[in-house]
């Protein structure tokens, strides 16, 4: 591979030079801009190059100023990438493609990171942890309100605001790159984007997803068009503008941390203070409205919290990371609990943990960008939660379903046995026990179960001393008869109830009762008895014929 790679690597962007021959053409001016920018940047993918990392090497490695203007031309990507350092450091520039291995850290390096001994590491880890916590907490409300992608739309919609703020500030002689100016611009246009979505959704026939997508792409398109103008401005230096916009995790400073801490505290406080109201809003906004809560204002408050956390996060860590932090921890927390309060706390903890872990991993391994690592840690947590979450995890649900299926199978087996015994008119307890047993084939014909499944179930029931299998015959034990009687009785009570009170034809009740008999509680059985005034242990006869449950319309009920 190396030959090819070397040519790739050594091939400079200046090869676009021949294009300059076409300057006389109308598009020349435009092309020229593009070519110049391309040639100043080693390559577009340079934005993704590796040395933008946090930690060990100290801040001198992080040279953001050198980020090329060409990034402005592909803000769609460059902007969404985080923590990536263009220029890199000279010592690394000779790294070959083959060197894909990670540099394993020494124990000392590891300890330095974990104990937060470096200023840079400390700042970044603290910042991402706080941000993760706040975003995840706000995110748990937006997730439940089914507004998960709102953060996506919002962060894309900030672009035109940032560009306009820069243009206006520069034209009026201010410093276009001043953080407050850009933040105000971003906030205004982000809010405008959210407002547009809400208006589109409520006033037109467009659905929520369409509204989000349309706003996201149109605002972002406008932003890109404006950024291209920004680039042509003679006044003001646009270079590095996008790093103010789109994240600089690796080079977070004390001021950024202060900003993040303030915003995070505000968001967390907002969530905690309005917890009850937001909870009601998420679960039943119509009810909240009828109880006199200002639903619209609450909705706006929630959106404002999202805006605050997103915009602070955007300029600190980048667009995709922000979306991920808003969605993933909350979605992961949902697997662990059914209660909002706990979900809120778990989500915050997961967000904080992924901020901390991601940033630390990135600090330990020099080649892993911190923003992406935070997202991947989040994803790992999500995957784990989805698999093993204690409330809604896939494993737990599968386990519960298996247990239910087994108990259903057992009940079917017992009832099937009992009904077969009943047919041979030996249904009273003593006879049932003396009966030599039911043939396996008869049982197999009773339901659509496979032989292995039936055998497995028989074995399980045998372990519980409910049946005895001898050769090809199965018979109920004393315990088995009692249990089978109870089950058959439940089934028939429900059938009778359906026939008498729900006007279901006797030929159809078997299937309905079959579905529900397994979940009937004793209280319901008592109620059924009261309704049908059949007290006592007597077992009603089946209201339909047992040998051919479906095809033949059976005789009228007992």
């Amino acid at each position: 591979m190396s030959g090819d790679d070397r040519t790739l690597r050594t091939q400079p962007r200046v090869q676009r030079e021949p294009f300059s021959a076409s300057r006389r053409l109308r598009g020349a001016a435009l092309i020229l801009v593009l070519c110049c920018n391309l040639s100043t940047s080693p390559c577009v993918f340079a934005h993704y190059s590796p040395s933008g990392r946090v930690g060990l090497s100290g801040p001198e490695r992080v040279s953001w100023s050198a980020r090329p203007i060409a990034a402005l031309l592909s803000p769609a990507l460059a902007g969404e990438l985080l923590t990536v350092d263009t220029a890199g450091d000279p010592s690394r520039s000779d790294r070959s493609l083959a060197g894909r291995s990670l540099d394993w850290p020494t124990w000392r390096q590891l300890r330095r990171v974990l104990l937060l001994q470096d200023y840079n590491t400390r700042v970044v880890v603290l910042g991402t942890t706080l941000l993760g916590c706040a975003a995840a907490m706000v995110g748990s409300f937006t997730l439940l309100r089914k507004r998960a992608l709102m953060g996506d739309a919002l962060s894309h919609a900030t672009l035109p605001g940032i560009a306009l703020a820069f243009i206006l500030a520069t034209l009026y002689g201010g410093d276009g790159k001043a953080l407050p100016v850009l933040l105000v611009g971003a906030t205004i246009s982000g809010l405008l984007g959210v407002a547009t979505i809400l208006v589109l959704r409520s006033l037109t026939r467009l659905k929520e997803d369409t509204a989000i997508g349309a706003v996201l792409s149109v605002y972002f398109g406008a932003g890109v068009a404006l950024l291209s103008i920004v680039q042509q401005m003679r006044e003001g230096n646009a270079a590095g503008l996008e790093s103010f916009i789109y994240g600089k995790t690796a080079s977070m400073g004390r001021a950024d941390i202060r900003l993040i801490a303030t915003a995070a505290a505000a968001c967390i406080a907002g969530c905690v203070l309005l917890f009850k109201e937001l909870k009601l809003l998420c679960f039943d906004d119509a009810f909240a409205g009828s109880r006199g809560f200002p639903v619209r204002r609450l909705d706006i408050t929630l959106m404002a919290l999202v805006v605050i956390v997103t915009i602070v996060g955007l300029q600190a860590v980048g667009l995709i990371l922000m979306i991920a932090l808003l969605i993933i921890p909350a979605a992961a927390a949902r697997f662990w609990t059914e209660r909002l309060g706990r979900m809120f706390l778990i989500s915050g903890a997961l967000g904080a943990a992924s901020g901390w872990l991601g940033a630390s991993v990135s600090a330990v391994f020099s080649k892993l960008p911190s923003g992406a690592m935070i997202v991947l840690v989040c994803t790992a947590m999500f995957a784990f939660s989805m698999a093993f979450g204690s409330a809604r995890g896939v494993a737990v649900r599968a386990f519960k379903r298996r247990r239910l299926n087994r108990s259903i199978d057992r009940q079917h087996l017992l009832r099937g046995l009992y009904e077969l015994l009943e047919e041979s008119s030996t249904a009273d307890d003593a006879n049932a026990q003396r009966h030599e047993g039911v043939r396996l084939e008869a049982l197999l014909r009773k339901r659509s179960w496979s032989r292995p499944r039936l055998l497995r179930q028989i074995r399980r029931c045998q372990d519980d001393l409910l049946v005895q299998a001898r050769g090809n015959r199965v018979r109920l034990t004393r315990r088995g008869v009692i249990e089978a009687r109870r089950l058959t009785r439940q089934h028939r009570l429900w059938e009778l109830f359906l026939i008498h009170y729900a006007d279901v034809a006797p030929s159809h009740v078997d299937r309905d009762a079959d579905a529900i008999e397994h979940v009937l509680e004793p209280e319901i059985i008592e109620e059924l008895e009261a309704i049908l005034s059949r007290s006592g242990p007597a077992l009603p006869a089946s209201p339909h014929r047992l040998d051919q449950p479906d095809p033949v319309p059976p005789a009228e009920g007992s």
């Binding site: 598009g27 493609l97 996201l216 149109v218 995709i320 991920a324 993933i328």
Partner: protein, 448 residues
């Protein structure tokens, strides 16, 4: 004009061609995304293809387009698949599962690329960096003619998409509106769904390569959304969306050249302006669509409100005079009773006076003969309804007023006769007020 002085078909023509093809290809599929409420999938896919590119680069160790294209398409389809899995197995709602999947894949791709592409020019005429302005530079020769590669690729994709939509029109329609019915009629809605996903990924990647990511997402969603505002049937919706996509592409390029000049700058990016143009079309459609437009709906509702206010005004005058012929009926009192705002009430009064339904006598409003006639009809409808609702719908007499108040405006002669028959010619409503007698001609009889 500046535009035409510098226009060059060699450049602008091809740029527009690429833009139009991209817009048409995307919006053809976009219609179904919008209808199936999967609009954000285009966005998710364009973000998520990054690891596909990286892995393709790892495997092929080259930057040629074909492996990259394949890798991106595969990951694009995987995005849809994973989203579906997370939604189904995790019971996470659609938007959130999409958010989880695409941010994760994007981060993964980022890490992979950082490992791979230290200083390697992964970009190289390829996938991520769309620059529609450079379309015309990269040409291939087809049958002797030099055609830009992007135009060729997009042309092929457009043809494929058009074929797909035409051939599977019926199936797509059915499975978009009623997937379970589609499955019961014997073709697999799931298969079609994934076929659609494959094409969405192909289109996204092809367009992404040549014209950039914003444009793809915008064209997937915005023209179909605009068409959705304008049409109620699928076939017209698709035609309209294709037409609008074309308009947006052309006008986007023109705007990109023209608009910045007004402010003294050179041109701006065509892709961005195409998205803006599409957005502007959507805004226009939302405002002025003849059936679903916000403005039209607003006016329709306003007119109805005024008509009802006019009805209420004459009916109120009738009732007041019925109770007490000397009752004060000056406009301000009436307005207070009707809870109407100043503007609407004045408008309605002016209208009523122009139709000679009311007239003014020393500051008091009086019904004219035709006015009294329509007022009597209204009051009769109202009271008949009250009587009917209390006797047949078992509604408490105290609560029928509101319902009757609504129904009276839409009750014509034949319905009144039916109500009359049903209530057996009742002479009083449940509150004890007399039900006025039906009279056919206004004013030939002397009023009581």
């Amino acid at each position: 004009m500046h535009l035409w002085q510098h226009w060059s078909w060699q450049i602008d023509g091809w740029i527009i061609a690429a833009g139009v093809l991209c817009a048409v290809a995307s919006s053809l599929l976009g219609n179904f995304l919008v209808l199936r409420r999967m609009s954000m999938l285009g966005d998710a896919i364009t973000h998520a293809i990054l690891p596909g590119l990286a892995v393709a680069f790892f495997i092929s160790s080259s930057r040629s387009s074909v492996p990259m294209f394949l890798g991106a398409v595969i990951v694009g389809v995987l995005t849809a698949l994973f989203t579906e899995w997370v939604r189904r197995f995790g019971h996470v709602d659609e938007g959130a599962s999409m958010g989880v999947v695409f941010t994760s894949l994007f981060a993964l791709g980022l890490v992979l690329i950082v490992q791979a592409a230290d200083n390697v020019d992964l970009d190289a005429g390829c996938v991520l960096y769309g620059a529609i302005e450079l379309t015309w530079l990269d040409t291939v020769s087809v049958a002797g003619a030099e055609i830009p590669r992007a135009v060729l690729v997009l042309g092929v994709v457009t043809v494929i998409n058009a074929l797909f939509v035409t051939l599977f029109f019926k199936e797509l329609k059915l499975s978009s509106f009623d997937p379970s019915l589609a499955t019961t009629t014997g073709f697999s809605a799931g298969l079609l769904h994934y076929l659609l996903m494959v094409l969405v990924a192909v289109t996204a990647v092809a367009s992404f390569e040549s014209v950039g990511s914003i444009l793809v997402v915008a064209m997937f969603i915005v023209p179909p959304a605009t068409a959705y505002m304008l049409a109620d049937r699928l076939a017209p919706m698709i035609w309209i969306s294709v037409f609008l996509a074309t308009v947006a592409a052309v006008s986007g390029h023109v705007l990109a050249i023209e608009v910045p000049r007004w402010f003294g700058y050179r041109s701006t990016t065509t892709a961005g302006m195409m998205a803006v143009a599409a957005g502007a079309l959507l805004a226009l459609a939302i405002l002025f669509s003849p059936r679903h437009g916000v403005l039209v709906k607003f006016l329709r509702r306003r007119r109805l409100a005024w008509k009802i206010l006019a009805d209420d005004t004459v009916a109120l005058l009738y009732r007041l005079q019925e109770r007490d012929p000397e009752a004060a009926t000056d406009p301000n009192t009436l307005r207070g009773l009707l809870l109407a705002d100043q503007f609407s009430f004045r408008l309605v009064l002016a209208w009523l006076r122009r139709r000679h339904y009311i007239q003014r006598h020393d500051g008091q409003l009086r019904l004219t003969r035709p006015g009294r006639h329509i007022a009597r009809q209204l009051v009769r409808s109202h009271r008949l309804w009250e009587q009917y609702l209390t006797s047949f719908a078992n509604i408490d007499a105290a609560r029928v007023h509101d319902k009757a108040e609504r129904l009276e405006h839409f009750t014509d002669r034949s319905l009144r006769d039916e109500l009359d028959a049903a209530t057996e010619g009742a002479e009083q409503d449940p509150h004890g007020s007399p039900i006025p007698v039906e009279r056919s001609e206004p004013g030939n009889h002397s009023d009581s």
